[in-house]
């Protein structure tokens, strides 16, 4: 991938620590996202990937371009700060994923403004939609911009650096009283997409609403997310990324690690910590510590994944 320095041995521990320094008080976490020995396939996984260089990619989320309420009257400005932060990174990531709610009200001008700022990163960006990106009457703005080559409401997969990436859409056909929803058609596609893949292929699933159940009382989960997780659980390394809840949260379950990213627009409260999941108003001086981006470093020959969450201001 362009911009990635293959001369370095992937992302070394030292490099990760350097990044952490750069990240200020950012949270660094490393997980044994690799293949557990008990499955007995770690050797083949290592053999298959030993020669491959490491790679890193970035996640940004919930830009809510167009949001102008007191929690952050300038969501476009903080998105630009995040992009500037990305442009200042010492090692350019291979690409970026955006886990939805690019806009606040799906207006054409909001998509235009988001594109103008995000494109300044000069990175390939892989999007999935959030519910705020499907608010136009004909639900066409997102699809016309980002839906090319995708299936259904916008799901797709691609390979990069030996990792299989799957972008899922769980913000359509939501049922009264329910949570996020993938739907039968998308689940069938997912099962088919994974069929025949080597179990040592690292998988990264990304979607807007958490695919795992974070807090159903606030709709923070996906009704049929368990089905998707069934399809990937046999793989040695699975990483599930999402946005929607505007805060860092993580969980490790067997070979599957779940991680949710900060928003670049406004923070939301911890589950149950407020009367609603609505925008959390904090002092201006604290806002940027609660917004940010995540950088994910994948080093294949160590089967280890490091996710560095970087607030806009530490």
């Amino acid at each position: 991938m362009s911009g990635h320095d293959h001369g370095h041995d992937g992302v070394s521990r030292r490099k990760v620590l350097e990044c952490m320094t750069w990240a200020g008080t950012g949270v660094l976490w490393t997980v044994t996202g690799g293949v557990p020995r008990s499955l007995g396939i770690i050797d083949s996984a290592q053999a298959a990937t030993a020669a491959a260089p490491g790679m890193s990619f970035l996640q940004i989320s919930d830009s809510h371009v167009g949001f102008d309420k007191p929690a952050n009257p300038n969501a476009l400005g903080t998105l630009e700060e995040a992009i500037n932060k990305i442009n200042a990174m010492p090692a350019k990531p291979s690409f970026m994923i955006h886990t939805g709610d690019i806009t606040h009200l799906s207006k054409a001008a909001e998509f235009d403004n988001a594109e103008r700022i995000i494109s300044q990163s000069k990175l390939d960006v892989h999007y999935v939609p959030g519910e705020h990106d499907f608010l136009d009457e004909e639900v066409k703005f997102y699809r016309e911009r980002y839906g090319r080559g995708t299936k259904g409401a916008g799901w797709y997969s691609f390979d990069a650096g030996g990792v299989h990436f799957i972008g899922l859409v769980n913000v359509v056909d939501l049922k009264a009283g329910g949570l996020g929803n993938l739907g039968a058609e998308q689940l069938a596609w997912l099962e088919d997409d994974l069929r025949g893949k080597s179990k040592s292929t690292p998988i990264v699933l990304f979607a807007h609403i958490p695919v795992w159940t974070v807090y159903p009382e606030w709709g923070w989960g996906t009704e049929d997310g368990g089905r998707a997780l069934e399809y990937v659980k046999g793989f040695g390394s699975v990483t599930v990324l999402n946005g929607h809840i505007h805060q860092v949260m993580q969980k490790v379950e067997g070979n599957v690690t779940f991680h949710t990213a900060r928003s670049t627009a406004f923070p939301q409260p911890a589950p149950g910590a407020a009367r609603s999941p609505g925008p959390m108003k904090v002092e201006d001086a604290k806002l940027r510590a609660m917004l940010g981006v995540a950088s994910i470093n994948f080093k294949q020959n160590e089967q280890r994944l490091a996710i560095i969450d970087t607030p806009l201001q530490g």
Binding site: F67, K69, P70, A71, H104, L105, S106, E131, H132, L135, E137, L174, K175, A176, G177, G178, L179, P216, E217, W218, G219, R275, S276, P277, G278, P279
Partner: protein, 111 residues
């Protein structure tokens, strides 16, 4: 409807009289009701109304919401302070929800 206080009674009585004579249809509006969306909750969550009543929903959150009753009515996306009204002309139970935040549900019982 605001209940007139003592000082307003004479004035209020005059208005009601005028309305009764000139605009008999406005009598139904006295029964019209409002539902507010606050903190991702429809308030009141359940309403009992008579046929012909108009219900108006107002979104008072900083986040957009919708009001959807499958096959019955569907609002546009309501941004902060936007309103949506629907007049119930048939009796029955109308379950509704926010299609963006489906854990938000409400019920209108029309008699």
């Amino acid at each position: 409807m605001k209940t007139p206080n003592r000082r307003d009674i004479g004035f209020g009585f005059g208005l009601v009289l005028a309305a009764a004579i000139l605009l008999p249809a406005t009598h139904a509006r006295a029964d019209d009701v409002e539902v507010h969306i606050d903190n991702f909750v429809f308030q009141p969550a359940e309403l009992k109304i008579k046929v012909g009543t108009t219900v108006t929903w107002t979104n008072r959150d900083d986040i957009p919401h919708t009001v959807v009753s499958a096959g019955k009515f569907r609002s546009k996306t309501l941004d902060t302070d936007d309103k949506f009204s629907f007049t119930f002309t048939n009796a029955g139970d109308y379950k509704y929800f926010c299609s963006l935040h489906p854990h938000m549900t409400g019920m209108i019982k029309v008699e």
